[in-house]
């Protein structure tokens, strides 16, 4: 019997690139900053994730999708651990991830250094459709825990904004 080629951490990271946010299926758990670590010990794979929002129902789906993805690749001994600290911030969304959000029609979050939205001042959020800066917040809460609802006064389209956290 041939022994299987040794599994590398990079191989697992590549596989996990296929696990997307179920609510925003263009961005991977790594690009989102939810995937915190991958470790291997005695042939067992430990994947560490952290929630975006504490109540986000997508977390359970992401956890199941990670296990499924690795099982499909023949990696059966998988444990997904969840940590709360350090707590997730939108700064962990990669630049490539932010570009994908924008292309998907979601205004990406600004940097937390520019945390005006949380402090009461509204940030300038350019419309992801037409780029206009003449936009207005319709609701501080949106279709998922991580988003707020905005409207563009130029192209008149509504859009989601990924809240800065």
């Amino acid at each position: 019997m041939n022994s299987a080629p040794a599994l590398t951490r990079q191989h697992i990271l590549d596989l996990l690139e296929n696990v997307k946010d179920p609510e925003v299926p263009v961005i991977s758990v790594r690009e989102l900053g939810v995937l915190r670590d991958v470790e291997m010990s005695d042939g067992k794979v430990f994947v560490t994730i952290t929630p975006t929002y504490t109540g986000c129902p997508a977390m359970d789906t992401m956890r199941e999708d990670i296990v499924k993805e690795l099982h499909n690749a023949g990696i059966m001994d998988v444990e997904v651990k969840q940590i709360l600290s350090p707590s997730w911030t939108t700064d962990w969304i990669s630049d490539a991830g932010k570009a994908k959000l924008k292309a998907y029609g979601i205004a990406p979050p600004e940097k937390t250094a520019d945390i005006r939205a949380l402090k009461g001042e509204l940030p300038v959020v350019p419309c992801p459709q037409c780029g206009s800066k003449d936009t207005v917040m319709v609701s501080a809460f949106g279709s998922t825990a991580c988003k707020a609802l905005w409207k563009c006064n130029t192209c008149l389209e509504p859009f989601d904004q990924f809240k800065c956290l």
Partner: protein, 254 residues
């Protein structure tokens, strides 16, 4: 017999978990009934944040207790007398001003409490707080905005907000009362002294109500009993609905 630190920590996690769980359930009742779509979404989003925090606390409570009870066991299989939330969160929803005034009073207490818990000697409580504090900041901003909008709005919105504050004020005292649970944990640096939290609550409430042109009700008789499992007449109905599925079909999953 003196309470051990483990018993106190279990009770403390239940208190934090139950406050969030019961308020979350009340807010979820607004789903499909909000005065406008955006507000409907806002309240259910807030309910989701609170249930996430409740999950963290009840999971940890189960762990600390060490008897193998899960977050679901604690949420769905306990009796009314075993719930230790404050009465404020179990009250009916009232009108929109009443719901928002309750959210505001809760948030004005919850934010400084969570900020202080970030420095807890218990790393799990500190981690839960570090996560929650971001969400609660956002929630307090929203509920404070609504108090100002109601108070400084029309005659009717002002009057409804003021009526709500008067009705709810007697339930705020319980947020700050402490007993042996806090005493044991405070000695170990696990939970904060409530005096600075009360001061932060007072300052926030005064500032927002002043801007809203609303009057702060006078402190008088304050309700109590929730922390000891003695609840109002609203609680049984709430639990009947919240626990129905797990009571009728124990262990049901989807």
């Amino acid at each position: 017999m003196k309470m051990t630190q483990q018993e106190a920590l279990f009770q403390y996690c239940l208190r934090r978990g139950d406050d969030n769980l019961i308020l979350s359930h009340r807010l979820s009742e607004w789903c499909g009934h909000g005065p406008q779509l955006e507000e409907d979404i806002a309240l259910t989003n807030r309910a989701l944040d609170l249930i996430g925090q409740a999950r963290n606390y009840l999971q940890y409570a189960g762990e600390v207790e060490g008897k193998g009870r899960s977050e679901d066991d604690l949420a769905y299989m306990r009796k009314e007398r075993d719930f230790v939330n404050v009465k404020l969160v179990e009250l009916h929803n009232g009108d929109y001003a009443y719901t928002m005034a309750r959210n505001f009073l809760y948030d004005a207490w919850h934010l400084p409490l969570q900020q202080a818990l970030m420095k807890s000697a218990d790393t799990q409580l500190a981690a839960i707080a570090g996560k929650a504090v971001k969400e609660v900041t956002y929630q307090l901003k929203t509920s404070a905005d609504w108090m100002i909008r109601f108070g400084d709005g029309t005659e009717e919105s002002h009057q409804r907000a003021q009526t709500a504050l008067h009705a709810l004020w007697t339930y705020t005292g319980e947020l700050f009362t402490t007993d042996e649970v806090e005493a044991v944990l405070q000695k170990a640096g696990i939970v904060p002294d409530m005096a600075p939290i009360k001061a932060a609550f007072d300052a926030k409430v005064d500032a927002v109500l002043a801007e809203a042109t609303l009057k702060r009700p006078a402190d008088g008789f304050m309700m109590s009993g929730g922390r000891q499992g003695k609840h109002s007449e609203h609680m049984g109905f709430l639990l009947a609905e919240m626990q129905y599925l797990q009571r009728a079909y124990p262990g049901a999953t989807w």
